[in-house]
C-alpha cells in the first residue's frame, strides 16, 4: 500500500520538555487512523507536523513527497492543498457566510466561479446544510458548525483529512454523527487521521489505533487495551 505520511525519528520540544520524542510512524493511503492519548500528550503537535505548521527539531516528516527538512516556504501552499484540516473549535470565519467559508480553499487557488458554485453547493447538499448556505457561523449549532468546517476541509478534494478533537466541543449524539461523517469520508477514499482523547468514539475495527503518552508513540490494536493502559 502507498505510504502517504512517514515520520522518521521525529523529536520536537517546546522549551525543555519534548512534546514528541523519537516518533516513528507511517500513514497508509486510504486508512482511518485514530491517535489517542490524554490531554497534553502531543496529539495536536503530531498533526501540526503533518501539515508542516511545525517542523521537527530532529528527524523528518515526509508527506506526499514533501519532506520537512527540504520543503521551501513557497511550496507549503502546494502541500496544504492536499490536506484538509478540522479543529476542535471549528475555526470558521465569522464575517463570512457558510457558502463563503466552504468556498475559501477554492477561492485562494483561483478556481473558476462556476466550479466553485457547483462544488460548494453539491457538498453542502450532501452534508445536509443546503438550507444554511447563507447563514453566518454564529447562527449555527455546534454540530452544524463542525459539518461546515468538514465541508471546508473537503471541498478541494484533499488526499488526507486531519481532524484534531473534532468532537471535543460537541455532545455525545452529535459527536457520533460527526464520527460517522468522517468514516463515510474515509469510505469515499480519503485518508483520515483523527486525534482524540477518547478513542471509544470510533468503533473498534473501524480504524487503526495509535496511543500517544507524553510524546511517546505506542501501538495499540484495540481500544479496550488502551483503556487498560490509561
Amino acid at each position: 500500500m502507498n505510504l502517504l505520511v512517514t515520520m522518521n525519528s521525529v523529536r520536537l520540544s517546546y522549551g525543555r520538555w519534548p512534546a514528541l520524542d523519537n516518533v516513528e510512524m507511517e500513514i497508509r493511503q486510504g486508512e482511518f487512523l485514530v491517535i489517542s492519548g490524554p490531554s497534553g500528550a502531543g496529539k495536536t503537535t503530531l498533526l501540526r507536523l503533518i501539515w508542516m505548521g511545525e517542523r521537527p527539531d530532529s528527524g523528518f516528516v515526509e508527506v506526499s513527497g514533501f519532506r520537512s527538512d527540504r520543503i521551501r516556504k513557497r511550496e507549503l501552499p502546494q502541500l496544504r492543498r492536499k490536506i484538509g484540516i478540522v479543529f476542535q473549535d471549528f475555526r470558521l470565519l465569522d464575517s463570512r457566510t457558510v457558502f463563503d467559508n466552504v468556498a475559501l480553499p477554492l477561492q485562494v487557488t483561483g478556481t473558476g466561479n462556476r466550479t466553485v458554485q457547483k462544488r460548494v453547493i453539491s457538498l453542502l447538499a450532501r452534508m445536509g446544510l443546503s438550507h444554511r448556505r447563507n447563514a453566518f457561523p454564529h447562527e449555527l449549532s455546534g454540530g452544524e458548525q463542525q459539518r461546515v468546517a468538514i465541508a471546508r476541509a473537503m471541498v478541494a478534494h484533499p488526499v488526507i483529512l486531519l481532524a484534531d478533537e473534532p468532537t471535543g466541543n460537541l455532545d455525545p449524539e452529535v459527536s457520533r454523527e460527526v464520527v460517522d461523517l468522517l468514516l463515510e469520508i474515509n469510505r469515499g477514499g480519503t485518508t483520515v487521521v483523527m486525534a482524540t482523547h477518547d478513542p471509544r468514539q470510533v468503533p473498534a475495527g473501524k480504524g487503526r489505533f495509535l496511543f500517544l503518552d507524553r510524546g511517546v508513540l505506542r501501538r495499540a490494536d484495540r481500544w479496550t487495551e488502551l483503556d487498560e493502559e490509561s
Binding site: G53, R74, L93, Q107, V108, T109
Partner: protein, 286 residues
C-alpha cells in the same frame, strides 16, 4: 473567480473591517504631514522670494533729476570702469515709466495722478561680476558710487538678502530633517497598525495558510492597507494644509506649493506606507 479577483475581494474585506481602528492612524499621518507641508510651503515661498531678489541683484543707481541724458551716460561710463562691474544699463525716465506700468499695472494710476509733468528719475542698472556678490564688497561699491557727482542714491538688497539666504538654507535643512523624521515615524505608525491588523485577523490569516493560500495572497490585503493609510494620510494632510493656507492667505500673503511638490508628498506617503506595511506584514515562518 480568478485568483486576482478573489485577492481584490480579500483586500476590500480587510479595508472594510473595523475602519475605526485605522482612523487614528490616518489622523496621525495627516497631522504629521500638515507640519511637513507647512515647512514645504514656507520653503517654497522663501525660495521664490529669493529667486526674485537674485534676479535684481546688482544695483539700481538713481540719478539726480536735473541731469541731462548725456550727463547720465557719462556717469554710466565712469561706473563701467570700476573693477567688478560687469555691465551698466541706462534707464531713461520714459523707460522707467514704461517699466513701472508693466511691472505694477495695478499701481499705474499713481503715475496718472502725478500728472503729465511728472518724471521718474533716470537710473543706471548695474550688474556685478559674481565674485563681487558679497555683502562687504557690495556696500563698498555702493559707497564708492554714491560718492560720484550727479548720483542721488544707490539701492541694493542690503540687509535683506544675506539674511534671507541664511533662512532659506536653514529651512531647507529643516525640511530634509523633518522629511527623515516623518518617513521613519510614519513607517513605524503604519508598521504597528498593520501588525495589529494581522493579529486582529490572525484566525483569517491562519485559515488562509492552512487551506493553501499563496503567501502573497495572505499578505497583500495588509500591504494595501498600509499603502492606503500612507496615501490617504498624506492626501488628507495636503488637503488640510491647503485649507489652512486658504484661511491664512488674507493675513500672510503666500503661495501654496506647486503640483510637482504635492505629487512628491503623496508619493512620500505611499512609499512610507508601503515600507511600514511590508515590514508589519512580514512573517518568518509558515
Amino acid at each position: 473567480m480568478s485568483l486576482f479577483q478573489s485577492s481584490l475581494r480579500e483586500i476590500s474585506l480587510n479595508l472594510h473591517s473595523k475602519p475605526g481602528a485605522r482612523l487614528v492612524t490616518l489622523l496621525m499621518v495627516a497631522l504629521a504631514f500638515i507640519v511637513f507641508n507647512t515647512f514645504l510651503i514656507i520653503s517654497w515661498n522663501l525660495q521664490g522670494l529669493m529667486n526674485r531678489e537674485e534676479n535684481t541683484v546688482g544695483m539700481e543707481v538713481f540719478l539726480q533729476r536735473d541731469l541731462s541724458q548725456a550727463q547720465g551716460r557719462v556717469i554710466g561710463d565712469n561706473i563701467s570702469s570700476i573693477p567688478d562691474v560687469q555691465s551698466v544699463y541706462f534707464v531713461s525716465p520714459e523707460e522707467a515709466e514704461a517699466l513701472f506700468r508693466a511691472e505694477l499695472p495695478e499701481r499705474s494710476d499713481l503715475l496718472d495722478v502725478m500728472g503729465s509733468d511728472f518724471r521718474l528719475p533716470a537710473s543706471l542698472q548695474i550688474v556685478f561680476e559674481d565674485e563681487a556678490m558679497t555683502q562687504r564688497r557690495l556696500s563698498e561699491l555702493a559707497r564708492q558710487i554714491e560718492a560720484l557727482a550727479g548720483v542721488d542714491e544707490a539701492v541694493y538688497g542690503e540687509d535683506y538678502l544675506p539674511g534671507l539666504l541664511k533662512t532659506v538654507t536653514t529651512i531647507r535643512r529643516l525640511v530634509i530633517l523633518l522629511g527623515i523624521v516623518l518617513v521613519s515615524s510614519i513607517s513605524m505608525v503604519v508598521f504597528y497598525t498593520v501588525r495589529l491588523s494581522v493579529v486582529r485577523r490572525s484566525l483569517t490569516v491562519d485559515i488562509m495558510k492552512t487551506v493553501g493560500a499563496p503567501g502573497w495572497f495572505v499578505r497583500i490585503p495588509f500591504v494595501v492597507e498600509g499603502i492606503f493609510m500612507g496615501v490617504a494620510g498624506s492626501a488628507g494632510g495636503l488637503l488640510l494644509a491647503a485649507i489652512l493656507s486658504k484661511v491664512l492667505s488674507g493675513a500672510v500673503a503666500h503661495r501654496f506649493m506647486p503640483v510637482s511638490w504635492m505629487t512628491m508628498v503623496i508619493l512620500l506617503g505611499a512609499v512610507t506606507g508601503t515600507v511600514g506595511a511590508l515590514a508589519g506584514s512580514y512573517e518568518k515562518e509558515r
